[in-house]
C-alpha cells in the first residue's frame, strides 16, 4: 500500500465539509440553523475594477478638490425626506438578535457620520431612538412591537417584504435569546423559539401594498419617506411593482446579506447575488423613468469603500451595511478566545449569533456577555470604519474625475470575469463585450 501523500485526493463532490454536514444531519435529524450570511464564493464587486482617468478623462486632485458625499432619500412623496451626509446606512437588525448595547453603538456611530440606522423585528428601543439622529422604522410581517407612536417618531418607514439572506422566509429568534424584555416587546412567552410570519398579516401583492403604503402615509401625515425592502430574487419585477405601489425608496438586499438565525440551506441556496440584482433593479427604474427619482439602496456583502463606489457607479443611490458594521463593532474579533472555543469555532469563523453566546457581546441577550461591548468605544470604531469607507470611495471617484460620489457611472467600470461582465452589464476588461448584450 502506497503512503505517498500526493496520492491522497479529496472528492470535489464529497469534500470534508460535505461529509461533516451529512454526518451531522444523520446524527441530529434537523437542518443547521446559524447566523452570518452566505459563505459560498459568489460573483461580487471584487470582480469589477475602475478605469480611472486617462487622456480622455480628467481626475480631481486627491486632497484639494471636493468630492461630495451627501444624499437625499425619499424625495418622491415624503414631505420630509431623509438627508444624509454619506451614502452608507446601517441596515435593519433587531433588538433581540442584537444586544441593547450593540443597537446603541450602531446608533451613536451612524450619528457621528451623519447617517441613519434601522430598527428590526421586535420594534424600536429607547436606546436606539436616543442614539440615532436618523432612525428608520421597519414594518415587518410579524408586527412585533409595531406601534403608531414609534411610527410617528421615526424619520422614515421601511416596509420589509424580504431580506437577502432568506427571501421568502420569516424572522427567527431562538428561545435562548427570548428574555423577559425581548418577550415583552414582542408579546410572546419568555424562552419560546420565535418563528415569525413570512407574509404580512393584512395585505398580499402589490395592489394591497399600495393601499398599505397610503395608510402609513396617512397615519404620519405624509411626512415620512416610505422605503420598501426586498430580498434579491426577481428584482426587475419587484422593483417595478414597488414603484407602482408608491415607494419613495427601494432597499435591495442581495444574497450575501446577513442574518441572526436562519437555516443554512436557505442562506446558501435562495436568492441572487447583489451584483446582478443591482443591475436589474437599476434597469427596472430606468425603464420606468424613475432612476434617481425613487432612490435605490443596495445591501448584501458591502465591505469597503471600493464596494460602495462600485455600487453607486452601477446606479445605487446609497448602500446599507449590516454584517460589516457588526464586524466594525468587534464581531469575530480576536478576543475571548476560550469562549469562541466553547462554541466550537475561532475568531474569524464564528456564526453563532443564533445561540446568544456571542463572545464579544453583540449578538446576545446575556447580561454578562453584553457588558463586553462598550457602546461608546464600539461607536467610535464604527465611525472610523465608515469614515474610512467614505475616504476610499472618494479616492476612487476623484480618480475617475467625479466631484460627487453619485456622479460615478457604469462607464467607469469594467469586469475581470465573464460572469461579472454579464451580471453587472459592463464590458469584460480589454474588450467591448458585455455577455448577453453585444
Amino acid at each position: 500500500m502506497s503512503t505517498d501523500p500526493r496520492l491522497k485526493r479529496e472528492s470535489a463532490s464529497f469534500h470534508r465539509n460535505v461529509i461533516a454536514e451529512i454526518q451531522r444531519a444523520a446524527s441530529e435529524g434537523i437542518y443547521e440553523i446559524r447566523g452570518f450570511g452566505a459563505k459560498r464564493h459568489l460573483p461580487s464587486f471584487d470582480d469589477l475594477v475602475f478605469l480611472g482617468a486617462s487622456m480622455s478623462r480628467y481626475p480631481l486632485e486627491g486632497y484639494r478638490e471636493r468630492c461630495a458625499t451627501d444624499v437625499v432619500l425619499g424625495s418622491r412623496f415624503a414631505r420630509k425626506p431623509v438627508e444624509l451626509k454619506i451614502p452608507i446606512t446601517i441596515a435593519g437588525m433587531s433588538f433581540g438578535s442584537l444586544s441593547a448595547n450593540a443597537k446603541r453603538a450602531l446608533g451613536l456611530g451612524a450619528t457621528k457620520m451623519g447617517t441613519s440606522t434601522t430598527t428590526g423585528d421586535g420594534g424600536m428601543t429607547e436606546e436606539e431612538r436616543d442614539a440615532s439622529a436618523v432612525l428608520v422604522y421597519q414594518v415587518l410581517p410579524s408586527r412585533y412591537g409595531m406601534n403608531p407612536d414609534d411610527l410617528r417618531r421615526a424619520d422614515a418607514i421601511e416596509v420589509v417584504i424580504g431580506q437577502g439572506a432568506k427571501p421568502g422566509g420569516g424572522g427567527m429568534l431562538l428561545g435562548q435569546k427570548i428574555t423577559d424584555r425581548v418577550a415583552a416587546m414582542r408579546t410572546l412567552p419568555t424562552g419560546i423559539d420565535q418563528r415569525s410570519a413570512c407574509r404580512h398579516p393584512d395585505w398580499t401583492g402589490p395592489d394591497d401594498l399600495e393601499i398599505k403604503i397610503e395608510e402609513l402615509r396617512e397615519i404620519t401625515d405624509w411626512m415620512k419617506p416610505i422605503y420598501v425592502k426586498i430580498g434579491a430574487t426577481r428584482p426587475r419585477f419587484d422593483v417595478a411593482l414597488a414603484v407602482k405601489a408608491g415607494a419613495d425608496v427601494i432597499v435591495l438586499d442581495g444574497m450575501q446579506g446577513g442574518t441572526g438565525a436562519t437555516q443554512d440551506v436557505f442562506i446558501e441556496h435562495v436568492g441572487i447575488p447583489t451584483l446582478p440584482a443591482l443591475r436589474e433593479a437599476v434597469e427596472a427604474l430606468q425603464e420606468l423613468d424613475m432612476h434617481r427619482k425613487v432612490q435605490l439602496i443596495v445591501s448584501g456583502g458591502i465591505r469597503s469603500g471600493a464596494d460602495v463606489a462600485k455600487a453607486l457607479a452601477l446606479g445605487a443611490d446609497a448602500v446599507s451595511i449590516g454584517t460589516a458594521a457588526l464586524i466594525a463593532l468587534n464581531c469575530n474579533g480576536p478576543l475571548y478566545e476560550d469562549d469562541y472555543k466553547a462554541l466550537g469555532v475561532e475568531a474569524g469563523l464564528c456564526h453563532h449569533c443564533h445561540t446568544g453566546r456571542c463572545p464579544v457581546g453583540i449578538a446576545t441577550q446575556d447580561t454578562e456577555l453584553e457588558q463586553r461591548l462598550d457602546p461608546e468605544a464600539a461607536a467610535l470604531r464604527l465611525r472610523n470604519y465608515l469614515s474610512t469607507m467614505v475616504l476610499e470611495a472618494q479616492t476612487l471617484a476623484r480618480a475617475c474625475g467625479k466631484s460627487h460620489l453619485l456622479h460615478l457611472e457604469p462607464e467607469d467600470l469594467v469586469a475581470l470575469t465573464i460572469e461579472a461582465a454579464a451580471m453587472a452589464g459592463v464590458p469584460l476588461a480589454g474588450t467591448r463585450w458585455i455577455p448577453g448584450r453585444s
Binding site: 408579546t187 423559539d193 418563528r195 410570519a197 398579516p201 393584512d202 395585505w203 394591497d208 393601499i211 395608510e215
Partner: protein
C-alpha cells in the same frame, strides 16, 4: 357634531382634520359618502366618536388609539389593523384580516368576518356576532376572539397565549390549537366581553380554545404537526 363629506373633500383632508383636533374641539364626527374608500380614520389618537355612514375599504380605523369608530356598513380588508386602544364597531360584515395584529382595545363585528380574523393579534379583544372564515386567530399571541357563530377551518393555527370562544361549529383546529376547559371564570369573562360589545348571545353553548404549547420550542419530532 361635525359632518365630513368625502364626496366634497379628499381623504387626506379628513385624516389631517381628525389628527389635528385639539383638546377643546368637537368630539363627534360623522363621515358621509365613504363609498368604500380605503384608509378612513386611520392613525387616530384623540378620544373622538366617529361614525362612518356607509361601507369602507381597507384599513378603516387602522392603528386606532382612543377613538370610538362606528362603521354603519360593511368594512373592507384589515379593519382596525394594529388597533392599540379605543373601539371599532362594524355594523355589517368585515372582510379578511379584521383587527390584524391588534394590540389592545375592542373590535366588534356585528355580522360575519372573513378569513384570518384576528391574525397575529397581540392583545385586542374581538367580538364577532356572526361567523369567521378560515385561519382566524392564526399566530394569535394575546387577547380574546369571541365568535358567536361558526369558525372556519384551521382555527387558531400556531396560536400562542390568545383565547378563543366559539358559540357555533368549528370547521377544524389549526396546529397546536386545542379545546380547553370552560370554567365559570372563563364564562364570566365571555359574558363581560359580550356585554361590553353589546352583543346578545346564549353563552351556554360556547367552547374555549387555546394553545397546547407543544410547538413553542421547535423539536424535530413535531415537524409533521405543522
Amino acid at each position: 357634531m361635525i359632518t365630513f363629506d368625502l364626496d366634497r373633500a379628499p381623504l387626506r383632508e379628513l385624516n389631517q382634520s381628525l389628527h389635528d383636533v385639539a383638546g377643546e374641539g368637537d368630539r363627534r364626527w360623522r363621515i358621509v359618502n365613504p363609498r368604500g374608500r380605503h384608509n378612513i380614520a386611520v392613525g387616530m389618537t384623540q378620544a373622538l366618536d366617529v361614525e362612518v355612514a356607509g361601507h369602507t375599504g381597507y384599513y378603516c380605523g387602522g392603528m386606532n388609539q382612543n377613538a370610538a369608530i362606528t362603521i354603519c356598513g360593511h368594512a373592507g380588508q384589515g379593519v382596525a389593523e394594529n388597533i392599540v386602544s379605543g373601539r371599532v364597531r362594524v355594523k355589517g360584515n368585515a372582510s379578511q384580516s379584521a383587527a390584524a395584529s391588534g394590540r389592545g382595545g375592542l373590535v366588534v363585528i356585528e355580522g360575519d368576518a372573513g378569513a384570518r380574523c384576528g391574525i397575529s393579534m397581540k392583545g385586542v379583544d374581538i367580538v364577532v356576532g356572526g361567523s369567521v372564515d378560515h385561519m382566524s386567530a392564526f399566530l394569535a399571541q394575546a387577547g380574546t376572539l369571541v365568535v358567536c357563530g361558526d369558525a372556519g377551518p384551521d382555527l387558531g393555527d400556531s396560536i400562542y397565549e390568545a383565547v378563543i370562544f366559539v358559540g357555533g361549529q368549528v370547521g377544524s383546529l389549526g396546529a397546536d390549537c386545542i379545546e380547553k376547559e370552560m370554567t365559570a371564570a372563563h364564562r364570566g369573562k365571555l359574558e363581560a366581553l359580550l356585554a361590553q360589545a353589546g352583543i346578545g348571545a346564549d353563552t351556554s353553548a360556547f367552547r374555549r380554545f387555546g394553545s397546547a404549547r407543544r410547538l413553542y420550542n421547535f423539536h424535530v419530532d413535531h415537524a409533521g404537526e405543522y
